[in-house]
Amino acid sequence: MKDLQSPAEQPRRAARVSLWRLLWIWMTIGVQSFGGGSATLYLIRRAAVERYGWLTEDEFTRYWGICQITPGINILSMVILIGWRVAGVLGASFALIGLVAPSAAITVALTSVYAHFRQASLVRAAIAGVVPATVGLGLLLSYTMVRPLLNAARRDGRGSTAAAGILLLGSALAAAVARAPAVGILWSAGALSAFLQWQRLARRRRPQ
């Protein structure tokens, strides 16, 4: 982790806080963040950059870039990286526990209450309404995920836009029609896109 923590990058007036205070800060972020990842990320940014000065704006953006290519939930990676930066391994552990424990407990509690009444006819009727709404919200989520990617591809040019469209439709078709393994589709699309992007920039650097 020393690559991410060279002395030159240390924020100048980083607030020193105890581990228990850290735990508390992350717990409040976890419990307050309703409405998904962007809400959580906003609260993390406000605390880490604006309030406590643990990172600069640029470092925050760079850390978030690293989290995009880290396996698992990006927010958890972000929390681990910032926690590490603030207080090493203990900082990372306390940050992770602080963010996840209360939110996970609430998720489990909600699910167990729900599972208890799952078969009640009133709940069944309510869920019959919620399922299509979840599908609608899922489609919207898919759209918000894909829009910035397509915009970036459009800025790269016509070739990249076409490639992005083909990858999007190809993945959907591979899953729907061919019923290909999801892992295979995800990684093939990633590898193909990595290759194309690399080739495109290599060509640009070598003008004929």
Binding site: D3, L110, T111, A164, A182
Partner: protein, 170 residues
């Protein structure tokens, strides 16, 4: 009957081989349905509970773990989603500092995101298949899209409205 070790492995593998909070959904949907451990309805339920609960959306899998295997399933899932980023960031962090800005890395992230979005739509269609493409279901679905797209209506309110429509109609 679910085998706890196998459940942990499925959850761990899906988190390890994907990125972002819902990137694991296509993999889990395939693996858990194939074993008959989860139903389309349970996926929809877990996603809805994940939207309502605080914290990152990615915690929806904990709800799925609970629906599949109770408290044990939820605990195993929690461990399975925390370990991949922890292990990877602590073990191979040096690679990121070197390759984080490489065009191939950016391309990889883009391709992965495109594929997740594409498969996501298919998974949503399968959930809709099991619920039925009835006019009422379609209206609720489109209503949720319309309200969600305004970005002014909280997700909780959308789901509560949908539940009320369900109670009124079904």
């Amino acid at each position: 009957m679910t085998d706890p070790l196998a459940l942990f492995w499925i959850m761990f593998r899906a988190a390890l081989l994907s990125t972002s909070g819902t990137g694991n959904l296509p993999i889990l949907h395939q693996d858990l349905l194939a074993r008959g451990w989860a139903t389309e309805r349970q996926f929809a339920e877990a996603l809805a509970i994940g939207q309502i609960s605080p914290g990152p959306t990615g915690l929806w899998v904990i709800s799925l773990g609970y629906l599949v295997d109770g408290l044990r399933g939820a605990a195993l899932t929690l461990l399975a989603i925390v370990l991949p980023p922890l292990l990877v960031l602590l073990l191979v962090h040096g690679i990121y500092a070197r390759w984080g800005d490489h065009p191939a890395t950016q391309g990889f992230v883009r391709g992965l995101g495109l594929a997740v979005s594409g498969i996501f739509v298919v998974v949503m269609a399968r959930i809709m298949n099991s619920a039925g493409w009835t006019p009422i279901n379609l209206m609720i679905m489109l209503g949720a899209v319309a309200l969600g797209a305004t970005r002014r209506v909280p997700v909780l309110l959308i789901l509560v409205l949908a539940a009320l429509v369900g109670i009124g109609l079904f």
